[in-house]
Structures are given as structure tokens and as C-alpha cells.
Symmetry: C2
Subunit: 562 residues, 2 copies
């Protein structure tokens, strides 16, 4: 089969690199692409998926359909060994590692989101990076409308109807515009929500929106969004976030249950572990797209730092992380790999942007193409025509076109599909004075404290006696679920800013009834704290263990065989 | 507003009951429907969603669109108090209970699946009850094809390409037919899978399929499916299931990673808790659809046992749990509630089935309508026309029609969307001799033993010494992840049939680093078992706790405030 050409990643960079390699090498090389998903996401459509204009399945294309003649391996990349020229992956449910050899390696792993610099943001913000993010955002918005429509509590309604997007670049502006359109078009189904109760905010740290576009177009976009009721707060960063509020860098508190973060691009952890030379967290390549210090490793797209001139230092001296550039980089990279295989000289990558477009939702957009500025309906129409032509795969084009057509003539659905990927153990951030839960609330999880101090108060139903205890890092509350509690017996308030880990009710019940060390711990704890005799209920099918006399590790139920 | 009429459940029974009540009472009553989802699932389309013929969003209809003039409350029902005439719910993320009053209550909560009678089945079988089930099944099938295409291990490939459906009633037959069509149409994208390697099996305990249809049609259906390569095993139950095999009641072992259970209908837990008179686990109603012993509680659909004659005893004396009946029951129930409100006499429910239809996939079906039998293409076409006309909501009809049209002329997508709802702590069933994991496997979770005995073997890398230990109920293995292990150090085998609880890696890491009692336990355990000094790594932002001197409950990090 000749050369083994291996591409890591199935985004714009990886997909087009594999296709271009196939065009150049035909059947003479073994071209393989490894991706965690078996589909290609057309990123510019994600805001429309979040807004329900396009069904998620219609916004993506099967990589197998797009990669004829290329082997697709759906797998998770574990590590890369440059010396042995081997990539180790885990595929399917299989837990055994599989090794894939290569002669030339193309690293096109994109980027990920890192929100860890703002307290609470990574725990409470939705993102707009993957298809699942878009799906989750749509479900989240509709859930808020459903709740606002039926709640009797004004503050709950206010929080539910306030939506904040962090960042006013392309992704932030398109997301906030589409979100507003979804909300506006949905309100007719929610008789108890008045349009005046809706608050949609975009928060941007920079002094202007859409940094990539000329100032006049950015100003037009902001004016358009404001006319549709979106607040755009410039020169405003995020100081902290909890499940019920966002605090801006200017000190404003916005009560909200919806924060969408479109900021914080960071390198993929696997790229960081590869030990390639990096530049600002991205793979340092030379102008031929070859990784520094490596003969047969190449990189492109969002994960590479590609200089467009010698002695590049400024941000503008490097290729921007856009689809437009990634596709051109892919073409050039394939050419250079062919040259390298044939022992010919490599050429440097050069490309100049043809322009930029942004959709604002509700049939409005802004565009600059070949230096010409467009705004309003023509820019929006151009956006749709351009992306429809750019989208790979005939069936995707057909389905997106039909979706747009139907969305234009029919009402938008408010069906709320299930939200996937809820973690069984999630972090929740609280600010000083926040209540964590109150007596009578539904018991939904077991809480352990990561940081901060929390005060637990409960009143004995019989004696009326009130008990307080303070819980700090490593401690816990909410454990009465183990005794069959379905609604809370006590109340908890944060005494200072802090973070807790919430283990879901199902996970907690399963673990505490199965894992002896945990059951034993709670047996003692409940006796000491509540003065109650309680024994872990072993699940069906499990023999009753010998009654433990203490809970030192030695009492663990393992016995050495032989 | 006059009467408060409250409907619990948004399936066929609940939806049509609310609509019929609205028709009869108009604005003179306050009609409200409580549902966990804000959409109506057209159940007969679920197999087509599982097969990707229809996108999930296109197979459901917004309840708000269907329930004009009815208040929809998206909420989880917690309890019903018949004396106070109040239903308590939890709505949205809200953990505070909300009380809803009623004058007349309609219980239309459907049924759920209970697979607990067969060892391992509830832990390892997919279901076909909800929209999410259908979505999950489609993703699961495509994941198996992706894996089979790239694996180098013959037994893994065989397991991945064997698909078993349990039950050959309407749901089982339609599901197996659609699954086979999806697989057949997808194979062109998987060059390393030969059609002869695919095995699709339907297992049915009864001596015949499609019990609701005449014997000749059932035989035709089986012949059709067999001609398309589906094995139909009649007189065959399920003895047990693990993640890698199904054992039939006849003792055959089928190596498979895909089991779909369409059997085991059971009452909804909330209906069981209501303390209504029950008959075979369903609400016992009289022939007027009123719950026995209650003046203002009514029930219909799958959750009610509705006698069609006096002194009903046989299964055939009661209304079958079909959509066709539920819609007629709804009409009659609304009429009787109106009569009750007006103090007029109630009438008894009577209806005779007009016929039954089943789709077999691949343009084939079977039908009996007004006593006339149809099979093959005409029956399939009738199935589509009938259900298209029966489906509520113009937009759903339009989208389903377009989906069918596109699916007829274009290839079917093999895009594998994310699977939602993965539990952070799941049970896994093993048979004697099964390996749980092996040295070098990816470390994907922490295992505690529910039942059975497991042998853990590991070899010291330095000394070569082999250590064995046996772990029984309450004990654990796989805990070395806590020390940073990413691939397994030891191997584990089941010494007898047994069950384990697997806590996901993310959940285990978060919990063991945050929850002091657990960190302390492992500190001692690792010292005792591996002779290694190890201290829990507290997460960022958490102050280092005082070093614990022992792990008795008294050492828990709570201190009573005041």
C-alpha cells in the first residue's frame, strides 16, 4: 500500500487534509483518519441547531460518506509515540489498546474550551463547541420557558427568563441572535410569559463586538441586536458565576439560570501531552506546516500556530483559526506531504482571507467580502448561500435546505428533547449567603464540600430543638437520603464563596448500599450525628455482611486468597 | 373558571382525554395536563426513529401545540392526596414542591418496562419505550458497526455484529425489521464488514409471533423476516444476559453486545404508590372508566384495567393497551366526566377493534382491517397512510412525510449521535468465568461487588511475584485509578455468576478526592494492600485538611457550630 498517512481529527482541518491526501495519492497510499465521532460537524450551523432551525441530525455529515477511499477509525486517541511512529487508541467499548502505525502523521485535533479562570464558570456555563452543546442549549432554553410558564415564584421566573451569552465574537453574536429568535418565536406557546419579562444579554470584555469585521459592521450588528431586544454589554468581563447568577467585572449581578460561554479557546489535552514544540499552546509549525523538529509530523487548523511570514510574532502574523483557512491549509499540507514523500522541496503556505460573514438571526446579517461591506437581509442571504455551497455532502445540503425552507414557512417546534451527558457527579459553585437547599426541598443528591464553609440547620420535629453544624472541605451534607429521605429535613446556606461536589441520588444510593466501606462509614456517622441506629440496606442478591465492629481499613471485606 | 380538571400523563390516553375535555367544557373549566415531557411521542414511529428513517425531533409533537386551551405543566409527579384533592409536583430545576388542586383527576400514566425477572437483563438490555430509547438504540447499532469495521479481534467482531431483540409482538417485530433495514442499508459504508457476518435474531417465548394478528399473517411476517436474514426463534425465552452474551431458555448462548427488550410491561411506580384499587398492577376502573371507590378519579390507557363486559375475568374481557382503544376511551371518559359534573348518569365504555397493522421494514407489512387480511407492500403502504392520518398535528405529518420521501430516494445516514443518559453508576452482570478486565486495559471505572465472588490477580513489575485476592459482596477492585493508573495493573475474573456496580472514572476521581471519609479509607487501604504510602490529592482551591490519624466516624471533618 505504500505510505501510511494518518490524520488525527475529523474537523475542517482533518477532513479536508484526508480528502486532499486521497486526491494526490489515490490508491497508492494507505490513508486513515481517526476521530472520536463518525460525523463531521459544520460548525457555522451550530447556533441554528441550538435555535431549532435545523434538527441536529441534519446539521452533520457522515465522515464515511465524505471520506471515500479513506479508512475511518472511530476511536479515542490515548497517546502518540513519535519514535516508534505509532498512535495508541481505544476503540468502541473495547478497553484493550490498539496501535496504529504511520509514516506521516497529521495533527488536526482542533481546540477545546477552558473556562477555569473564572470562578464557577466552568461549572455553570453551557458551551457552543460540539453538536451536543448545541442540542443541550436548545433543550435548556425551552426548559426555562416551560418552568417560567408554570412557576408561582417571581424570582424563579426572573432567573428563568434571563439568558446571558459570554463573548461577542462570531460565535457569541450568532448564538445570541439565534437564541433571541428561538425565544421570540416560541412565546406564543407560553401564555403566562410576557415578552417584557425576557432578558437576553451579550457580555463582551473587549470594547467592541465582532473583532474580525470592520468597526462599522460590528456597530450595525450591535444596533440590530439591540433593536430586537438584546442587551450588548461591551467592556464587560465575567467575575464569577453560580447556578443562579452571573457577576460581571463591573460588579453587576445578573440573576440567571442560563450562561453560554463562547470564550476560552484552549489546546486539546492530547496535543499538550504529545511533547511537540508549542507556541501559545498550539503546535508550533514552520511555514510548510511541518511540526518544528519533526520530519513526518504535520499540523493545521485550530490546533496549529501557522506563521504567514518569516519572524512572525504578532497575532496577525499567524493564520486565524477559521474554516476558510483550515481548508486552504489542508490543500497545502497534502501537497507538501506528497513533496516530502517524493523527496522534492516543500513550499510555504500563503493565503489571504476572502472575507467574513456573520448571521444575526431573524433574517439579518453582516458581511465583508473582497473588501465590500454588506448588512441586513442581503448579508444574511449571502451567509446562507455561501454556507450551503461550502457545506460538504449533497445530502447534508439537501436536508439543510429543506430545513431552512420549512422553518421559513412553518412555526418552530418547542419540543424539548432529553439533555444528554448529565454527569453523575458535578461541581456547583455558591456565593456567600446562597442557600444550597431548604427543608422540604426534593432530596436530589449527596453533597461533599470542595472549598468554602457551609452551615447546616435542622429542627427536630418532636422536640423543636434547632441544631446547627458547619461543614468545611472534605465534609458532607445531604446524606439523610441514605435513610430513605425524599425531601430535605434541614437547610444549608453558604457561609462564604465555595464549591461543592454533588453526587446524584441514584449514584449515591447505589454506591452507599454496595460499597461496604462507605456503608460502614455512614453507619457510624449517623449514629454519632443523629443518634440513630442505622444499618446499610444491602441490595437484593447480596448476602448480609458480618456486622462490622469498626471502620478502620483493616475491616474491609477483602480476604487474601491463599 | 368552574371545574378544575387535571390530567396526569401526556401519552395517547392523557393527550386525547385533555383534548376531549376541552371540546366538551370549552372555557367553562380549568383543564390542565401534567407531563414529564413537553412533547407527545407517536409510539408507532419509534422503530423508524431507531432505524434513522425519521429524525427524533420529527417524530414527536409539541404538547403545547396540540393542547390549545389546555394548561400544560411540565413537571414530575411526586404524590397524590385524594382527600385534599391535591397533586404534588416538582417542576423545572426547582426542588420546592408545588401543589395543584383538582375537582376531577384523570390518571393516564401509561406503563413502564420491568426486566428484573431475568438475571442481567435490566442491566444490559436496551428498551423501546421512549424517544430516548429509540435514539439510543440507533446510536448503539451504529457504534457496533463502527467497532466491527476496525477491530482486529474476531470474537469482538462477532459480538458486535450480533443483534438480539427479545419479544416478537408488535414492538419486537417492527423493531427487528427496522433494525435489519438500517444495518443492510448501512453496510456499504463499512468495507470491512461482510453481510454474512451479520446476525439478527428475534427471540419469543410464545409459540408464535404477533399474537394480536391472525396466525396466517404472523406466519407471513416470520417468513418475510427470515427471507431478509432475520432469525426468529419461537418457544424461546431468555435465561440470563451479560454485556457480551444472551443465554436462551433452551440453553443456547448467543454472543452479542446488543439486546433489545420489548417485553416486561409493568405499572408505573407512581400509580402503585397512589393507593388506588389495582387489578393486575393496573388501576381498577368500572365500565364507566371511574376508579373503583373514587367519585372523581378516572383512568384510561395502558395504566387502567378496563372491563368491556360485566364480570370480566379473562384477558380478552378487558380493553387492550393500544392507541386505538386509548383514543376511544378518552372520548368516553370526557363524556362521563361531563355527565358527573352535571349530575347526569354515566354510560359504559364499549368499542370493538377495527383491525391491526404491523410494519416489517423494507416495504413489507401485515394487516387485518375490518376482518380483511393484507400482507406485503399493500399492507406496508396502508400502515404508512393510516399512521400519517392518525398522527396529531399538521407540522408533524408534514415533517414525517418529507422524512419518508427523502428516506425513499436518498441513502440513510450513519451519523452516530451522542448517546444520552449514561448513568454514572451502573450495574454489570457477569457469568462464571467471565473476565471483568485484564492487565493493560483502559481503566474506566471503580468496581464494587454486589453479589458473587471475583478473583483479582496482579504481578509485581519488579519482583515478578504474582498476588491473588478474592473479592466478595461489599468489597471492591479497580481502585488503583485513585493513584493515577490509566491502564489496568491487574486482571479480574468472575469465580461465579455475580453482579458489580461500576462507578465511572470521572465520578470516582471527583468523589475520592473531595469526600474525606472516602479518601481516608483508601489511604489506609492502599497502605495495607499495596504497601504504598498514598495521600488523597485534594482538588484545587481546597485547603489541605489536617492529616487524619484514624478513620473512625468521629474523624469526619464536621465540627458543631456553637
Amino acid at each position: 500500500m505504500g505510505q501510511k498517512l494518518l490524520v488525527l481529527g475529523g474537523g475542517f482541518g482533518g477532513l479536508y487534509a484526508a480528502r486532499e491526501l486521497r486526491k494526490r495519492f489515490g490508491e497508492t497510499a494507505d490513508i486513515q483518519l481517526i476521530s472520536e465521532e463518525n460525523y463531521f460537524v459544520f460548525q457555522p450551523l451550530l447556533p441554528e441547531v441550538a435555535a431549532g432551525a435545523i434538527a441536529e441530525m441534519n446539521a452533520v455529515t457522515s465522515l464515511r460518506e465524505l471520506l471515500k477511499g479513506v479508512r475511518l477509525r472511530k476511536a479515542t486517541i490515548h497517546s502518540v509515540d513519535f519514535d516508534r511512529q505509532v498512535v495508541t487508541v481505544f476503540q468502541g467499548v473495547q478497553r484493550r489498546p490498539t496501535e496504529i502505525e504511520y509514516d506521516h502523521l497529521v495533527v488536526a485535533m482542533g481546540s477545546r474550551i477552558d473556562l477555569s479562570r473564572v470562578p464557577g464558570l466552568s461549572d455553570h456555563a453551557l458551551q457552543m463547541k460540539t453538536l451536543d452543546d448545541a442540542r443541550r442549549l436548545r433543550a435548556h432554553i425551552i426548559e426555562r420557558l416551560e418552568h417560567a410558564d408554570v412557576t408561582f415564584l417571581p424570582e424563579v421566573k426572573r432567573e428563568a427568563l434571563t439568558f446571558v451569552v459570554v463573548g461577542a465574537g462570531f460565535s457569541g453574536i450568532e448564538t445570541v441572535g439565534e437564541m433571541k429568535e428561538l425565544i421570540d418565536r416560541s412565546l406564543k406557546y407560553y401564555p403566562n410569559i410576557d415578552p417584557s419579562e425576557i432578558r437576553v444579554v451579550a457580555v463582551e470584555f473587549a470594547p467592541r463586538a465582532l473583532n474580525e469585521l470592520p468597526e462599522s459592521l460590528a456597530a450595525y450588528a450591535v444596533k440590530q441586536l439591540e433593536a430586537r431586544g438584546v442587551e450588548v454589554m461591551l467592556n464587560t468581563g465575567v467575575a464569577s458565576a453560580t447556578g443562579r447568577r452571573l457577576v460581571t467585572s463591573t460588579g453587576e449581578e445578573i440573576p440567571t439560570r442560563t450562561i453560554v460561554a463562547t470564550i476560552g479557546n484552549a489546546p486539546s489535552p492530547i496535543v499538550l501531552e504529545m511533547n511537540l514544540a508549542l507556541n501559545h499552546g498550539r503546535v508550533a509549525v514552520d511555514r510548510t506546516l511541518r511540526a518544528q523538529g519533526r520530519d513526518n509530523v504535520w499540523s493545521l487548523g485550530d490546533c496549529a500556530m501557522i506563521p504567514l511570514k518569516e519572524a512572525a510574532t504578532e497575532r496577525g502574523d499567524f493564520a486565524p483559526p477559521t474554516a476558510q483557512f483550515a481548508v486552504r491549509e489542508a490543500r497545502h499540507l497534502a501537497k507538501n506531504i506528497q513533496a516530502a514523500v517524493q523527496g522534492k522541496p516543500l513550499s510555504v503556505f500563503q493565503y489571504k482571507s476572502r472575507g467574513s460573514l456573520a448571521s444575526l438571526g431573524a433574517h439579518r446579517g453582516v458581511a465583508e467580502v473582497f473588501g465590500v461591506k454588506l448588512s441586513g437581509y442581503p448579508a444574511w442571504l449571502l451567509w446562507r448561500i455561501y454556507y450551503l455551497s461550502f457545506m460538504p455532502g449533497f445530502d447534508t445540503k439537501l436536508r439543510v435546505f429543506l430545513s431552512w425552507f420549512l422553518d421559513g414557512i412553518r412555526p418552530r417546534s418547542v419540543v424539548q428533547l432529553d439533555v444528554s451527558g448529565k454527569d453523575g457527579a458535578r461541581y456547583v459553585h455558591f456565593a456567600k449567603g446562597d442557600r444550597v437547599f431548604e427543608k422540604g426541598n426534593r432530596s436530589d443528591g449527596f453533597y461533599t464540600v470542595v472549598s468554602g464553609r457551609f452551615e447546616v440547620t435542622y429542627q427536630d420535629d418532636n422536640t423543636g430543638e434547632v441544631t446547627c453544624r458547619e461543614v468545611g472541605p472534605g465534609g458532607h451534607f445531604g446524606e439523610r437520603m441514605i435513610m430513605g429521605e425524599t425531601t430535605r429535613y434541614g437547610s444549608v446556606v453558604a457561609l462564604e464563596d465555595g464549591k461543592v461536589l454533588v453526587l446524584g441520588r441514584a449514584e449515591f444510593e447505589k454506591l452507599s448500599t454496595t460499597f461496604d466501606a462507605m456503608g460502614d462509614y455512614f453507619e457510624g456517622y449517623i449514629k454519632d450525628t443523629y443518634g440513630v441506629d442505622w444499618h446499610p440496606a444491602r441490595p437484593l442478591g447480596a448476602p448480609a455482611p458480618k456486622a462490622p465492629t469498626d471502620v478502620t481499613p483493616a475491616a474491609a471485606k477483602q480476604s487474601a486468597a491463599e
